[in-house]
Amino acid sequence: MAPWTKTSSERYGVVKWNFIAKAEKQLSLAVGDTVHIQESCEGWYKGYVIKNKERKGAFPANFIVLKEVIIEKRGDEEVITSVEMPLVKEVTTTLREWGTIWKQLYLQSSKKVRFTQVQRLMWDLMEWRSQLLSGTLPSDEFKELKQKVTSKIDYGNKILELDVVVRDADGNILDPERASVISLFRAHRDATAKITERIKEEQSNVQMDHSGVSARIQSSPTHSLYVFVRNFVCRIGEDSELFMSLYDPNKQTNISENYLVRWGDKGLPKDIEMLNSLKVVFTDLGNKDLNREKIYLICQIVRVGRMDLKDTPNKKWTTGLRRPFGVAVMDISDIIKGKTECDEEKQYFIPFHPVIAENDFLHALLNKVTSSRGDSGGQGTTHSFPAQMTSQQRSLR
């Protein structure tokens, strides 16, 4: 006769298989229900389904997947909270609340538009919730996603005329027991203003992704730019070296080191294996760099070979001399500031400007090119910028 004992750490779980009660003191369970467990005995638990606290009964322990909890004692009662992220819990309760309202909207045929609108909101939230739970997001994308989720929840609550949830700067819900009345009032006022503005935005279909990108930029002190060099098309006839770097035209200085690619005379990189993987990451860009007015990606091309291109290759002439050949310049201020979206496949063609006379300085040519916008005649390098502005601090999530 084993006695029933109160459980200490096994308090909360999810049902993973349907269970039909066979005796009066047993409790039927449906898959997906969440249960609170109070006692255990011989492989059975006793507790109740959270949705229906009145009915208590016994059910087998192996039908439950246990979840970790934090137990707080408030006076006589114990408050059990699961260790899931508070945002995830909020999304879950919000989704369930909206679910019942959504079904009511279905019944009223005049609310068809609202019905589909709420349906889309719910799908988006569910997708984002599973992304949050998967634990596979780097920390900057996580912050961006948090912002997106909270703004969607606020928008949905507003159009369904539910209570406004007041948040602090990080997107966490303000606890009325811990915040002062005046700060709560101010937060309420700010929240309503922000939400009405966002509703106007959504209604005019303006795509303003500022909130996501600015959250990402504010969250990390250093940034990097990832450049993938795809090809270099130029008729030189000799080996050359490409130096790529970031350049500030107003101060006329390079703001990064040079990335060197040796290119052979046949039109392929010297190191054939690197053909499809000429990738470089410019790291340690601080906020000061982001705030520069204009940033260019420049490529200085140096020809390695004879003194003068026009001379025929002859043993008499010295080779191995490095002569300037030209520059290629591209304005990437928009990409750096996050104003244009970047994806892996988009390739940019950077036009190329050759030196006019053999004794020109590359620097002078650079200044000329950056101040004008000329045409180049089809020669240049192709780059793509996947995944810009990724944060240096990727935590081990």
């Binding site: 993973k16 349907n18 898959v31 997906g32 005995c41 059975w44 596979t136």
Partner: protein, 248 residues
């Protein structure tokens, strides 16, 4: 770091024979590739094939069907404006039909022109049809107004939007729905009043939408938890049911 680990494990699963193959495989598994793979795996997990989920689905289905029935009857109570076909085609006349709020009677009557808003009850002149007297609902080719000679001149669409209500063993009330959606709503509603199953395609699609959303909401807490293939064995019943607190 997790992404790098996953890239390497995935590249190793195909057991490459040389370092070159390994390198080329790694190159294919870029960061965005991994994210895409993960997302598609998450989508596939929602395939809902496991037994307990199918059982739950069947359990919820009647509730959802009840919801759909409620919606159809609400629509019928609001009423719809129908067109009359006349063999002379001189002028399209309108008539309005609606169900009474207690679902017992069908009111209908002629209208001069298409109404813009609510049509009050007393403007529907004709004798109302009690629902209890309705014997059957026929659709399409079987409708008497479709069988008329003049009707054959009508195009095929009208045939698909026509339905009739048979009451008092030989009286027919003929409808031509303005569009497919109204047709489905009315045939569903009338079938529901007769206690029969609702069979239109809108019912099926509504049922899918509602049921899928309901299932997703219920299974939110099972995220990242694998549902077993076979049911866990039910342990032997406990020797007693003396719970610690008997707070019922």
């Amino acid at each position: 770091m997790q992404v790098v680990k996953e890239q390497i494990t995935r590249a190793l699963t195909i057991k490459p024979n040389s370092l070159d193959q390994f390198k080329s495989r790694l190159q294919n598994l870029s960061y965005t590739e991994i994210l895409k793979l993960r997302q598609s795996e998450r989508m596939n997990q929602e395939d809902f094939q496991s037994r307990p989920i199918l059982e739950l689905r069947e359990k919820i289905q009647p509730e959802i069907m009840e919801l759909i029935k409620q919606q159809r009857l609400n629509r019928l109570c609001e009423g719809t404006c129908f067109r009359k076909i006349s063999s002379r085609r001189r002028q399209d006349k309108f008539w309005y039909c609606r169900l009474s709020p207690n679902h017992k009677v069908l009111h209908y009557g002629d209208l001069e022109e298409s109404p813009q808003g609510e049509v009050p009850h007393d403007s529907l002149q004709d004798k109302p049809v009690p629902v209890a007297d309705i014997k059957a609902v026929v659709t399409g080719k079987d409708c008497p107004h479709m069988k008329e000679k003049g009707a054959l001149k009508q195009n095929k669409e009208v045939l698909e939007l026509a339905f009739s209500v048979l009451y008092e063993s030989d009286e027919y009330l003929n409808f031509i729905a303005p569009d497919k959606h109204e047709y489905c709503v009315w045939t569903d509603g009338l079938n529901a009043l007769l206690g029969k199953e609702m069979t239109s395609e809108f019912t099926r699609s509504d049922m899918d939408t509602l049921l899928n959303m309901e299932m997703k909401l219920r299974l939110l807490d099972l995220e990242n938890i694998q549902i077993p293939e076979v049911p866990p064995p039910i342990p032997k019943e406990p020797s007693n049911y003396d719970f610690v607190y008997d707070c019922n």
